[in-house]
């Protein structure tokens, strides 16, 4: 496996830093005097600049430097964090991303504009003289008498890879006063164990300066969380040594034994002056809690697991027909391991929905600016986890939904006040898991969907007959029709009629569904039902006629036998009484036109999507099946009954039933029968 390109490593790092920066800025917008947030944004800017320069992204480093300088002034109390500054740096952050993605592009005009904005924001943010004196942190106040500090530090092993240059810290310390820097090589591993891109060294620095401890700590501001740092003044403990100890014995001495002078002795460590080597000891370092893995490697691994599951299924079939006890045992063990591997793989691919929701804070920030409406975004259930691929594919549909909520759903401040609502509109993003699905909802407290306008638009577009009776839910669903928009004017946010049908298609491509609820004057909720994963699912393998099909197991509520008597009784209707509840059912044999005679003992598999249930009549229930989902070809895009296919152990193909579609079909059937009755 080849080593990753350092520039690619930087791009990943930069993406994370930009994300941290954006979240910090968005928080800062609401808490302008929060020093922690100012520091966090500064750290992200500082690291991005340093790493960018180290990896050859000079333009990025130069541009970021301006924003870093602006935030440095805020940190030092020389300027105030203002909404204008936050807004300017947010825009600058977008430009930084462009510089990361396309460092050689023509960005000059954009840069000029952004720097002018930044300059204007900084000029307006200069703290009043009184305020600057009063608010300035103690560390920038009156210089104190010079103190001699002993600073011992070790940096994390991934320092180089993260683009941090340890020499720059030493340069900064030297700039503070009289400085004696001693390198500690004692934790250097043998050459054969050395990872040349990892840092193993540590430092012992004696610094005489009038700067404060906080100033010294600031040198390490953006690596502070991961490093070992001790700062001692003489009063803190042990007296400073006259001469810092040599930290590596004369390593060439044995080879020069005859001519060498006695190697300098290494002083015994004092209790109060623990050598930084201890702090930098790999055993004492913070344990590595995560490993960065490129997403495509996870995808490759997923594919391999998928193939393994298919082979295991084949082995299981062979073992089932064999009398070889050893083979059966191996097959059972293999099945267990495959199942565990699959679960582990699934967990690896899961990421919290928070990674998705966080993106919309910036969107809402921009929407407030563009619409002039006050909007409060709240989130719920961010810890709900979903497959990373699903999360990535949900990002764009959710942008449409949030934009629609802001643009169409929420009223302006005046209208809201007139309606007795708070001036700030609310958009709520929530996530929760139910069985094998996650339901993601976008709720606004706006005006709700105007049914009359939807109807008028639908009639004008020929989607429904004028005056036709149509159920409320069906009327609402019309907004997902291509080209449908109720907006009276086209804005750059929404209202072009291209949003909601794109949302629907995107959700359907994820084998999900959309529910829409809206109350006039109270707001709307769009709920997306999305399967947890698109890769491997637990399925129930059934036979209908000669064909085999997979029903996603999380949707299965129960299986019951349909006796011949009940089958005969139910002819002409499609309901079965199940514990005093009528459940519509679908004879899959008829739906698939198998042309075969029904099995004498048919089974009904009751499946549900939330509140709605439907029974699927099958000829035989074969059993549980770990189902590796394979996409259907584009030719089958319009086949709504199936959501994919899978390969069975004997190499044959089984189609995977689209439960949401079948439930909807069952409900339609029920509605028709009720209408006839």
């Amino acid at each position: 496996m080849s080593n990753p390109d350092p520039a690619d490593i930087f791009r990943i790092e930069a993406a994370e830093l930009l994300e941290q920066m954006e979240q910090g800025l968005l928080d800062l917008e609401h808490r302008l005097d929060d020093r922690t947030l100012v520091d966090a944004v500064f750290r992200a800017l500082h690291t991005l600049k340093g790493s960018g320069a180290m990896f050859g992204f000079d333009r990025l480093a130069a541009f970021t430097h301006h924003c870093e300088t602006a935030f440095d002034r805020v940190r030092k109390g020389q300027a105030e964090a203002t909404p204008a500054l936050v807004s300017a740096v947010l825009e600058a952050r977008d430009h930084m991303r462009a510089l990361v993605e396309d460092p050689s592009g023509d960005h000059a005009a954009e840069e000029r504009y952004l720097l002018e904005r930044l300059q204007a924001a900084v000029s307006g943010a200069v703290a009043a003289p009184m305020a600057s004196v009063a608010d300035a942190p103690a560390k920038t106040a009156t210089p104190t008498a010079p103190t001699t500090w002993r600073i011992r530090f070790g940096l994390p092993e991934n320092t180089f890879v993260n683009g941090t240059n340890p020499l720059s810290f030493l340069d900064e310390l030297r700039a503070m006063g009289e400085c004696r820097v001693v390198l500690d090589r004692s934790t250097l591993p043998p050459l054969e164990q050395l990872d040349p891109t990892a840092l193993y060294l540590a430092w012992d620095v004696t610094l005489t300066t009038d700067r404060s401890r906080a100033d010294i700590e600031d040198v390490f501001l953006f690596v502070m969380d991961d490093m070992a740092l001790e700062i001692e003044a003489p009063s803190d403990g042990a007296p400073l040594p006259e001469v810092a100890p040599p930290v590596l014995s004369d390593i060439d001495a044995p080879a020069r034994a005859a001519a060498a002078e006695p190697p300098p002795e290494r002083p015994e460590p004092e209790a109060a002056a623990r050598p930084v080597a201890d702090a930098a000891d790999p055993k004492l370092r913070r344990k590595v809690e995560s490993v960065r893995v490129p997403a495509e490697r996870l995808d490759e691994l997923m594919d391999r697991v998928g193939e393994l599951v298919i082979v295991q299924s084949r082995l299981q079939q062979i073992a089932a027909t064999s009398s070889d006890i050893g083979l059966r045992t191996v097959s059972e063990e293999m099945e267990r391991l495959c199942s565990e591997l699959r679960v582990t793989m699934m967990v690896l691919r899961m990421v919290p929905v928070a990674t998705l929701f966080d993106r919309y804070r910036r969107l809402v920030h921009d929407l407030q600016r563009d619409t002039g409406k006050k909007i409060e975004l709240s989130t719920d259930g961010e810890s709900t986890e979903m497959d990373k691929t699903v999360i990535e594919r949900l990002a764009d549909p959710l942008v449409h939904l949030v934009r629609n909520a802001a643009d169409h759903g929420l009223e302006n401040g005046e209208a809201r006040r007139a309606a007795g609502k708070p001036e700030a509109g609310s958009i709520r993003l929530s996530a929760r898991q139910t069985g094998g699905e996650v339901i993601i909802s976008v709720t606004d407290d706006g005006r709700g969907i105007d049914r009359a306008r939807v109807r008028a638009k639908a009639e004008a577009a020929g989607l429904i007959q004028p005056g036709a009776t149509i159920a409320d839910q069906d009327l609402l669903q019309l907004i997902f029709q291509p080209g449908f928009s109720t907006a009276s004017s086209v804005t750059n946010l929404s209202g072009r009629g291209v949003g909601m049908d794109v949302v629907k298609k995107a959700i359907e491509s994820l084998h999900g569904s959309i529910d829409l609820a809206s109350r006039p004057g109270e707001g709307s909720t769009v709920s997306l039902r999305i399967p947890l994963t698109l890769a491997i699912i637990d399925g129930l393998l059934v036979r209908v006629g000669e064909g085999r099909y997979v029903i996603p197991l999380p949707a299965v509520e129960e299986c019951i036998e349909l006796s011949q008597e009940e089958d005969l009784r139910s002819r002409g209707r499609a309901f079965l009484s199940l514990r005093d509840t009528l459940v519509p059912f679908i004879r899959l044999r008829e739906l698939f036109a198998t042309g075969t005679r029904p099995d004498p003992y048919q089974k009904m598999v009751v499946v549900s999507t939330g509140e709605e249930r439907v029974g699927l009549i099958v000829d035989q229930i074969i059993g549980h099946h770990q189902t590796v989902i394979k996409s259907m070809s584009k030719l089958h895009d319009d086949v709504t009954t199936f959501s994919g296919a899978t390969i069975l152990g004997d190499g044959s193909v089984a189609l995977i039933l689209d439960v949401a579609n079948l439930v909807s079909l069952g409900q339609e059937q029920e509605a028709q029968l009720r209408a006839i009755a």
Partner: protein, 105 residues
């Protein structure tokens, strides 16, 4: 095993190319008893290279091999040595290796 070799290092002696330098040094230490390193005067050097050379010195010393620089450290290499603090408490062996300074009795 051959006796000695001279290795001319690449001018990029930074973390971005450090794996190549590492392989070169390991191969040399495996194959020769005496290795001289030629470091270009215009080489770009960072701390990862100093760290690598220090680890290589340890290995050479343990195996009784000779590892030395063709020229005393100068240019960027010398600056990196000073900035890193490696020379502050340097032993005679350090000074001999990096700066070709001989011990006076």
């Amino acid at each position: 095993m051959e006796n000695s070799t001279v290795i001319r290092m690449h001018p990029n002696l930074c973390v971005s190319d450090i794996r190549a330098s590492y392989s070169t040094l390991v191969e040399a230490l495996d194959g020769f008893s005496s290795i001289q390193l030629g470091i270009p005067t215009d080489a770009i050097v960072d701390l990862s290279f100093l760290q690598l050379i220090e680890a290589a010195r340890l290995r050479a010393n343990e195996q009784g091999k000779s590892l030395s620089l063709l020229e005393p450290a100068n240019g960027e290499l010398r600056r990196a040595l000073d900035r890193s603090g490696l020379m502050t408490a340097a032993t005679s062996a350090d000074r001999s290796f990096w700066l070709h300074e001989e011990t006076t009795q």
